[in-house]
């Protein structure tokens, strides 16, 4: 049980002038300092007593983190301080990676999305993170500034547990980037909450499909599931079924069942584990079918 008297604890707000200095500070205060961007998760978690950092390090606006750039040769990069409303409004995103905008659109409310960021959503590593699935199916990579310099962390190996990632003290995620999406692809993110808009996900399903002659079925699909496992889940068995068997209604149903079987959800006030599993099946079927309708010859 968390503290009975929630309220923001006392902490020091730290703003440094460079990424190097910020990384240094975070590394020196391992365990008692945390970087923050929009603060939409950090301050809620602190208010509710889950996090008790002494230092909150503001990393907004450091070294070009505030840009969205698209390069037709290499792909899209979204800086860590770009808020979700900017992602939703970005012409490049809408033209080349619309599923990012679709996923961002399901997060909370407009007001919150002026603070919330995609990179923050990824680093917070909630299994319910709505934009994480889209980032996963787009083969996203996180750019991380650490004490030893800059490195790339593929999202496929980024998540370790609920709220836990491979990031180490001193690490600051500065951007998420995506390669050019596959030729002829389509993607969808379907979120189910308890209401039309605004609730946390009971279940979220991201699906991306594209023609691929190297696959026996002629297509490949990438799937990612929210809120049904300790980490954002990629149901590889379901992906394999869609690559191997000719795509029919029955194959999609089989893949959807495989996705369901891959889940290990919990019961909570939003929905039971059983409901979640069946919703994964239904929504995977729906998402894959819709993507399939758009990509098939």
């Amino acid at each position: 049980m968390h503290t009975p008297t929630p309220g923001l604890p006392e902490f020091d707000y730290v703003k440094l002038t460079s990424l190097a200095a910020a990384s240094q500070f975070l590394a020196e205060h391992a365990g008692e300092a945390r970087p923050f961007m929009g603060g939409t998760d950090v301050f809620v978690r602190m208010r509710d007593g889950f996090w008790k950092e002494k230092y909150i390090v503001d990393v907004k606006g450091l070294d070009g983190m505030d840009e969205i750039t698209f390069d037709p040769a290499t792909g899209l990069t979204i800086g860590a301080s770009v808020n979700m409303n900017r992602v939703i409004a970005s012409p490049e995103v809408n033209q080349h990676y619309p599923v990012l905008a679709e996923a961002a659109h399901t997060v909370a409310s407009y007001q919150l999305r002026t603070r919330a960021t995609i990179v923050g959503n990824v680093c917070n590593a909630s299994p319910a993170g709505d934009t994480i699935g889209a980032c996963l199916v787009l083969n996203g990579t996180l750019r991380v500034h650490g004490v030893d310099g800059v490195r790339e962390e593929p999202l496929s190996t980024f998540f370790v547990g609920p709220g836990q990632t491979v990031l180490k003290p001193g690490d600051i995620a500065t951007a998420v980037s995506f390669p050019l999406p596959p030729e002829g692809y389509a993607a969808r993110y379907i979120k189910l909450g308890r209401n039309a808009i605004g609730d946390l996900a009971i279940v979220g399903v991201a699906a991306l499909g594209y023609p691929d002659s190297s696959a026996p079925s002629g297509y490949r699909f990438r799937l990612a599931l929210a809120s049904v496992a300790p980490v954002p889940l990629v149901p590889t068995q379901a992906e394999a079924i869609l690559a191997e068997k000719p795509i029919t209604e029955a194959t999609i149903a089989e893949a959807a069942r495989a996705a369901m079987d891959a889940c290990t959800p919990i019961d909570d006030v939003r929905g039971s584990a059983r409901y979640r599993k069946l919703m994964v099946r239904n929504l995977t079927r729906k998402a894959v079918t819709e993507v399939w309708e758009r990509i098939k010859g």
Binding site: R194, N195, A196, L283
Partner: protein, 780 residues
Amino acid sequence: MKGKWIGQPIKRNEDPRLLTGQALYVDDVDMPGMLHAAFLRSDYAHARIRSIDVSAARARPGVVAVYTAEDMADFWRPGPLIVPPPRNVEGIVFHARTQIPMVKDKARHIGDPIAVVIAESRYIAEDALEDIVVDYEPLEPVVDMERALEPDAPLVHDDLDSNLAAHVVQEKGNYEAARAKADVVIKRRILVDRGAAAALENRGVVAHWEPKSQQLTVWDTTQAPIPIRNGIAAMLGLSEHQVRVIAPFIGGGFGPKIMMSQPEEVLVPWAAMKLNRPIKWIEDRRENFIGTTQERAQIHDVEMALTRDGRVLGVRDVFLHDTGAYDPYGLTVPLNTQSHGLGAYDIPNYYTEFKVVFTNKMIVTPVRGAGRPQGIFVIERMMDLAAKELGMDRAEIRKRNLIPPDAFPYRQEIIDQAFIELVYDSGNYLPVLEKAMAMIGYDRFIEEEQPRLRAEGRHVGLGLVTFVETTGVGPYEGARVSVESSGKVSVVTGVGTQGQGHFTSFAQIVADQLGVDVRDVRVVTGDTAQFHWGTGTFASRGAVVAGNAVKAAAAGVRAKILKLASKVLETPEEELELVDGQVRVADIPERSISLGELAVMANPLRGAVEPGTKPGLEATDYFGPQYGATASGAVAMIVEVDPETMMVEIKRFVIAHDCGTVLNPMIVEGQIHGGVSMGIGNSFYERLVYDDNGQLLNASLMDYLLPRSTDMPRRIEIAHLETPSPLNPIGSKGVGEAGAIPVPSAFAQAVEDALADYGVEILETPLSPNRLFELLSARG
């Protein structure tokens, strides 16, 4: 009684201040030297307190005082029994256990206050809460209502033999005899679960003791400033004239703010006097979930006896009502359920029995609807099941049983929350139902649209229910109306205001009486220094009871105006008219005098006030209804259910209602919109989830789901029908709860209809996508 102003959809006088952020709320009160309070609340639903160590908290810099029950000495006493049980119900059992200011022996629910810290800032006060060490001895909690009545259940109140708080049996006619004659008897168990009132503004209190003038001023988010004033004065041993309670603008009441002598309301004024410093406490949202009263949980075992042609011969309803850890509000809620258990129908035999149960959960007191939605949910669900059983159309079975227009006043022969026999004063129910049916296109939907959509594989359903709402209960309210020398009019009344539009509807009543512009009438509510007789704003009674008091006072002023003007204008009263702020001779409009000039003459600087008259164009009057007026209505709605996810979308929503004379249709519609959104919450979104330990699992707005604009129907189509109440001169009935009462029953019926091919029966509210899915799974 439409007038130049009454009945018109005019814009509200108060809105410019509200919309531009100029209105005063309790949290806007700021005083030099003001301290801040924070409460330590129990982590356990049921625990004995072995010891409380506050020494570290007291030592924290910036902390001025820390109090526990022990520090209160003789001031520690359980709060008042706000509503005692009715004395005229035979065999009634009632054990009063009223709310306590702070825990002395054991905590009885999550959030029970244990200590209060007073500090230089709220930050310091909250930090100091963490310094307090409480040695708890956790006890087994009792959370489930049925479990609470088992012989070996842990006791919430050790001095009682069981967790039974009350037992009431009432009967109209003879149900058993009716049952013996019935062709069909239907029996079901129906559940209603808990929800929060979830006002936008949480509770708050600021208290300021002025030692030199010996005056205590309390700003409080209360719906009942006058009773609060009386309670605080009594508790602190002050004269009622030494205490001024101000209920300024309040961001929603919805019932819990009628609760009096809540711990914070008692402790903040007490501490302010003790410390000689103003103190503020503003509830945060989590405190609101664990420290503000809630409602609705009941379990009904209900039986309905009918003839083959759909006439209901009788209803037998035996239910449990969860009152939480204490029962300070008496039996208002279950009595309301009982008195709404026959809905709008002429049912000659009714056996109704309830047991009120103590549990280790937050206290239950009225929340918008206050027991009425449960009663309507039960009777309306049973009507639907009966229609199905008999193979009858659900509109038809309702029509066959509605109380006919010539049966009013209609006696229900049971005692209701006003402690007198429930009598529906007036109404005309069939046209209301038919209006709702016409608006939704009932026949066309059933015969054409639904079959067509079903053939397309879509799951659409219709809900159609009727409801009644007892409103405008006594005892009384009062008002004082004065014409000032500017010619403008001031109105003061004792009720508090939480968004009902009193500043406009009361002004409309006065404007029609005095022939002034509604914008020239300034209304003051909720300040005991301005008016100190009255009860409060609750039970949909403001417009009815205070409204008629305003009218009576305005009529008194009108009489004074005419008397004086008759002298001044040397014209008989009957030839005078009040128009545009003037009194003028009807036939010779240029012979006139303004109300302002008359007001000056009525308060002479020279010369005397004649014997038998009083200075000023002012009158005070009161109104107490003989009994409450009963409003009615019908709701029709169409929903679509996504069979893959069990998400429900409301496609159309129609409400036809009759609240007697409509003072301002725009305000009435606003009340209905708000009520409907609350009803939608109670249908599909809002459920407080307590676990087996009595912990509230969704004590935040992230987890407790309020409906949003995107969950509301695009339009709420409203029709006003007006059957004026004979019980008051304006002819009004209340409408504050009308929207909230019928929605869950209409929603459940619509969803059940949409899922007809799954054969699911809905016997509970609120639902959720997950719960619907479970119900379907249980059907296989």
